[in-house]
């Protein structure tokens, strides 16, 4: 195991962490802000992948798919928001879990009806296919693109949340909703906007992951668990928590797979259990 090996595995871990980040940031902010447990977040990711594949087939362009899929998923999210989510905000976590569980079933069967049961794939655009020489190692160009995309989203969200007025409003609302309302913040609009951004990011993650993975009807369920683990390890509602959680889970999964494959399946769960025993509210919860 030379230096090249470690660099490659480091890049793999970073790439996987970025994917987890794109998914978990939406989920955690929706948790933190709306107090809404959206188990259908993984299903939105799945829809992003399938819609992206169709969009790429129709337009003939990956880049069009990369834009269209998040927009489509956001529209679906907006419909969900007005028909279900908004109504269920005060219905308690049990009912939210139940409805979003139901939504998973519905979305999976809709995908089966629309796209069939056979797994599908999406080709990376020509510019991003192949590998890039990084000096010591060469690494798949598309994966480098994913790392860049994740880093870009991370930077934008950080700037928006910490430097802009909207960010201040979001943080205030996460901290104390009643106080935020009293300060004249239109909490309803803010929630809607945040929910849409979360959906867009889930759709973006789906279409962006499609060239690396494959689109299957089980992908929404199987990504849900690692995403929830990231959110819970990081602590609800905070950008920092999502970043830290994504990197912890991404690196543990990748390096256990590379070095201790026998333990790869179980290590993340052990980690989650350990964090919850020692820090029952996660590592970096938004509210003290």
């Amino acid at each position: 195991m030379d230096a090249g090996f470690w660099i490659l595995q480091f890049l793999n871990a970073t790439q996987f962490s970025m994917l987890l980040f794109l998914l978990s940031i939406g989920l955690t902010v929706i948790f933190g802000l709306l107090h809404f447990v959206n188990l259908a977040h993984g299903a939105l990711y799945m829809l992003g992948a399938y819609i992206g594949i169709s969009a790429a087939a129709w337009t003939g362009s990956f880049w069009a798919a990369l834009v269209l899929a998040p927009i489509a998923v956001t529209l679906i999210g907006a419909v969900l928001y007005f028909t279900l989510i908004d109504r269920l905000r005060s219905a308690g976590p049990m009912n939210q879990v139940l409805v979003t569980f139901g939504l998973i079933f519905v979305f999976i069967d809709l995908v089966r009806i629309g796209w069939g049961d056979v797994a599908l794939g999406l080709n990376a655009p020509q510019v991003l296919s192949g590998a890039t020489d990084l000096g010591i190692v060469s690494y798949p160009t598309y994966r480098l693109f994913l790392i860049g995309l994740g880093a870009m989203v991370m930077a934008i969200l950080w700037i928006v949340l910490s430097k802009t007025q909207i960010g201040a409003m979001i943080r205030a609302s996460v901290e104390n909703e009643a106080m935020a309302k009293a300060l004249g913040i239109n909490v309803g609009e803010l929630f809607f906007a945040v929910f849409c951004v979360g959906c867009a990011l889930a759709g973006l993650a789906g279409v962006a992951a499609a060239p690396v993975l494959s689109a299957t009807t089980g992908m929404g369920i199987s990504i849900l668990i690692p995403t929830l683990i990231v959110v819970v390890i990081g602590g609800l509602g905070s950008l920092e928590g999502a970043i830290v959680g994504s990197f912890i889970v991404g690196f543990i999964e990748t390096f256990s797979a590379a070095i201790l494959p026998g333990l790869a399946a179980i290590l993340t769960y052990v980690l989650l259990a350990a964090v919850l025993v020692l820090r029952p509210r996660g590592l970096l919860p938004a509210r003290a």
Partner: protein
Amino acid sequence: MFFQSHARTAVLLFVLIGLVLYAATGSYFAREIVVEIAILAILAISLDVAAGYGGMVSLCHGAIMGMSAYTYAILSVKFGLPTLPSAVGGIAAAAVFGTAVGWITGRTAGIFFIMATLAFGQMAYTLIFKSRWLGGDDGMGGLDRFDLSWLGINLGDSLSFAVYTVVCLGLVYLAAAWVLRSGFGRTLSGLHSNEDRLQALGVNTVIHRARALGFSGLLAGVAGILAAQHTLYISPELLFWTVSGEILIVVILGGLGTLVGPIVGAVLFVMLKHEVSEYTNHWHMVVGLVLIAAVLAGGRGIFGQIEYWAADRRRAGKEQSAEAGDA
């Protein structure tokens, strides 16, 4: 707090007798459905004890049941023990697993508790899935049912087995109701409604939560034994988290915190699934839509909603008679 109202007794007896009659008069497959309902109902009661009364929404009840089924299989198949001690061992293993999860997660609440239980359940699933000794994903066969021939009962017969599972369901209900009405049941409800105050009173809530989940696990263990005896074959599927999710659905669909509701939920869920799957392979979608509709209709679950209406009418009735008294 748990009350065994007349309405609850009536619905319970109605369902239990209905299940026995359905099994007795129906075809072979009707009996399969009765067994499926009874096992799911026991699991749902077990989860209702934890979630509805103790506020602990667990996503590891499938794993708890699976621990019981696997222990039963290990003791009877691998170590050649008779079925009865194996079953006791299986139920004990489920109770111990439940207690351990309850104790370790004692300080977590809400979504964190859900996730923690999910983690422990998935750990158990993964370990069993990976175990070559236990057959991995191919599972284990060669199990036996109880030999009740000294009672003149042949559990190998599908009708006898169906009735046996319904009897177990009745016993589990009685056990749950009895425990919930005891002092422990009151502490449990206190945990749910006001944990901070109990802590302030010097009550060690972690121990109580562990005991509650242990008792809940014991009941789920009964379901595990029945599941193993039903198919005479077990596989890691039993422990997968979506099984726990399904149990949760049944509880909420029927009515959380009513103990009878989960039984009603199990009946409806299994019937709905079989009826719809006759017509389409997309029965999951129909179940999903029913779930959403059930929540939008009030979120109290079917039995919970009926009790709510009944209480509403009683309240209205009282107000009327009070007015009459005034006049």
